[in-house]
């Protein structure tokens, strides 16, 4: 196989300080792609021009459910875990309690209004040479430097999105991620004058949409969609305490339901419940101090929860807009991605592809899930969040095209052990990959490798075409 280490080309990252030698194909810079992306999607996301019509739907009257064929399973095995499947009960909205808001940042009102306020709230500990090692101080200093770079970009009255994308590729500091993600996805306007109004309007649209949908409690919902969502939400990230709390589960239900009824071609598809969680977690983190994965949001003021929910909804919508084909009937987007992955891996590591074929392992058997859940079943939510920094920096194609290169890099990483396994061992291994100990470092290596494969193969993209009839010369290294 092509050995990543042995190649003379290195991706731009990491480390960012290494200058990138000429690549055999035109060098890809995240910034270049973005212009294309913007030129294609500008109209859709100009908040002031087209949003009024695009978002009208939330103002429309929600259709009554098609039919209620059955009383959904109140008695399912999940009912032991809170009564989330009990459809006779109206959803509970948290009451706007002001006291007892443990962990909530005191400045939350300013943050709700304008995420830009987060820029002034970053806390840096003071380290002294007496109590800390040089390495610790060095690390903190470089972190501060990096945060300041982001701040400089984000504080400008019109944020330079190319610059933001370029710097975000290597990861976004936690404190700035909520704002940066919203901007990279085109939800938060780059122009600071428009931000507050746009956010207010978008959030109101979502909240009105929820109100309309749930006006008759859960009994008025499309029962087929609602049933599926209500049985999946308690099964979402079950190992993370945050997702076991009542408030979180009700929020996810509302986000997923409103998204589903507005996208009838796909509706709610399992896996979308996974994709909403990084947004929920990141946007929640903006308002609290401490660890988000163990935070109990039950005591959050309603206005804060509404905002987290609305922002998660819109950002999920933006993400899914780029990969709609993955979730419509017969899931052609995923079929194409799986075929693309097979083609790509064949070029990168022919002996692995041959071995898998000999054992009767088909790519769809293991990579369907990689596409349907964006590798979220293979990686922790935290690692996914880091990965999405890069995906969003890649622009619209991040979650489709670049993801393919990430999957290829991910698979060939295990090439050596895989080539010693038979069919059964391969399937078992690929379903439970040893990524539990992975952290930022492993993610950055993975993303760099993906970047490399993209640099080498993006212009010979037969693997991205349907049918794949085109023949592309093999690249010799």
């Amino acid at each position: 196989m092509l050995k990543f280490e042995s190649l003379s080309v290195r991706p731009k990252t990491p480390p960012p300080s290494i200058p990138s030698p000429p690549l055999p194909t035109p060098t890809h810079r995240p910034g270049r792609n973005f212009t294309d992306f913007m030129s294609q999607t500008d109209d859709d996301w100009d908040a002031d021009v087209k949003d009024e019509t695009a978002d009208d739907f939330l103002q429309q009257k929600i259709k009554p459910p098609r039919s209620i064929e059955h009383r959904p399973a109140v008695s399912s095995k999940l009912s032991g875990n809170g009564s989330s499947t009990d459809l006779s009960r109206a959803p509970t909205y948290p009451s706007p309690r002001r006291k007892d808001t443990q962990g909530l940042k005191p400045q939350f009102e300013g943050l709700v209004r304008d995420p830009g306020n987060s820029l002034h709230m970053i806390y840096h500990p003071t380290l002294s040479a007496d109590t800390h090692t040089e390495a610790e101080i060095e690390r903190l200093n470089s972190r501060i430097k990096r945060i300041n770079k982001f701040k400089r970009i984000l504080q400008s009255s019109t944020v330079d999105l190319n610059e933001l994308r370029e710097i975000s590729w290597n990861g976004i500091p936690d404190e700035l991620r909520p704002m940066a993600w919203q901007m990279l996805l085109g939800y938060l306007p780059a122009n600071s004058d428009r931000r507050i109004n746009t956010l207010e309007r978008k959030r109101k649209e979502f909240i009105d949409g929820v109100k309309q949908a749930f006006v008759r409690g859960t009994a008025g919902l499309d029962q087929t969609i609602w049933h599926q969502i209500s049985i999946d939400v308690p099964r979402t990230n079950p190992h993370i305490p945050l997702y076991g709390f009542e408030t979180t589960q009700r929020s996810l239900e509302r986000i997923l339901y409103v998204w589903a009824i507005r996208h009838p071609a796909s509706g709610y598809v399992q896996g979308i419940n996974d994709l909403v969680t990084p947004f929920f977690q990141v946007f929640l983190s903006a308002y609290i101090d401490g660890e988000v994965e163990t935070f109990n949001p039950n005591s959050l003021p309603k206005e804060v929860l509404d905002v987290i929910e609305a922002d998660s909804f819109w950002c999920l919508t933006k993400l899914l807009d780029g990969i709609q084909d993955n979730y419509i009937h017969t899931q052609p987007g995923i079929q194409r991605q799986v075929a693309g992955l097979r083609d790509l891996v064949q070029r990168i590591d022919n002996s692995l592809t041959k071995h898998l074929a000999e054992q009767g392992v088909e790519f769809i058997q293991f990579s369907f899930r990689w596409m349907n859940c964006m590798l979220m079943r293979e990686l922790s939510v935290k690692n996914t969040i880091r990965m999405w920094d890069t995906y969003m920096a890649e622009g619209q194609a991040g979650f489709s095209e670049f993801h393919l290169y990430v999957c290829a890099a991910f698979l060939v990483k295990w090439s050596e052990p895989l080539q010693k396994m038979d069919f059964q061992e391969t399937m078992m291994f690929l379903q439970a990959l040893p990524t539990q100990s992975w952290g930022e470092k492993e993610m950055e290596i993975l993303l760099s490798e993906a970047f490399l494969w993209q640099s080498l193969f993006r212009n010979s993209s037969a693997h991205l075409r349907q049918g794949g009839a085109a023949h592309v010369p093999t690249i010799n290294l």
Partner: protein, 240 residues
């Protein structure tokens, strides 16, 4: 690295491809988890695409290694199903005894399997979540006795599902993945019911979907399994 243990042993030993089908959240993955690991998880993540597992079943007359494809239940993934039931020698079609629509869905799966799967496929109809019924009586006559403590959530009488299973020559069991009740019994019954003619020697290359051409030779002439087989099968033991 294919395992070739017991090579030459007189006892018949074979790999069997098994597929699980059924509506979302009826407990397909939980049945498999109980069978394979004797474990139960309250909130298991929904299966996406399909999961693959194996488990051996040692019977007095034969050793069966199940290669299990546990499919995703949501309708959107249904187009993947043919890939998983292709060349399967046996299928577990699962419904939830508390949810009538899940039996309707199960019947659709049975019809599809009878139409499109290998002709000799052994199908077992399994009503899961038996722990949610107040009594496991075979009789469908609902007791009018109010059992406030242990609310009976059963919505599908045993007799109804059983009658359907007999009509279609399916094995039939009611199970609880949560308590483990009858889970082993289902797999034992299946292991016994697979016609000898469709068993193939162990240890070949992968029996995944790619191996279709390799495994199709025997599948033309097998016999439908009737309830008599199921009864006989259930009497035999299994040390899985």
């Amino acid at each position: 690295m294919a395992s070739r243990e017991e090579a030459g042993a007189p006892k018949l030993s074979s790999s069997v491809k098994l597929v699980l089908l059924g509506e979302a959240a009826v407990g397909k993955s939980s049945l498999v988890l109980r069978f394979v690991n004797d474990d139960f998880q309250e909130n298991k993540e929904p299966t996406i695409g399909a999961a693959f597992l194996t488990q051996k079943c040692n019977l007095p007359t034969r050793t069966i290694k199940f290669e299990i494809w546990d499919t995703a239940g949501q309708e959107r993934f249904a187009s993947l199903a043919p890939m998983y039931y292709r060349n399967a020698q046996t299928a577990l079609v699962v419904y939830d005894i508390t949810k009538p629509t899940s039996l309707t869905k199960a019947k659709h799966w049975v019809a599809e399997l009878q139409r499109q799967a290998s002709p000799g496929i052994v199908i077992a109809l399994v009503g899961n979540k038996l722990d949610l019924a107040s009594s496991n009586a075979i009789s469908a006559n609902a007791d009018d006795v109010d059992d406030a403590e242990n609310e009976d959530r059963r919505a599908i009488p045993t007799s109804e599902a059983k009658a359907y299973a007999e009509e279609e020559s399916l094995l039939f069991y009611e199970t609880s993945a949560k308590t483990g009740e009858n889970v082993q019994a289902v797999f034992e019954a299946i292991a016994n019911a697979i016609p000898e003619s469709t068993l193939k020697p162990r240890g070949g290359a992968g029996t995944g979907m790619g191996g279709g051409a390799r495994s199709s030779a025997n599948e033309g002439h097998s016999h439908a399994v009737n309830m008599a087989d199921a009864t006989r099968a259930a009497k035999e033991g299994c040390a899985c």
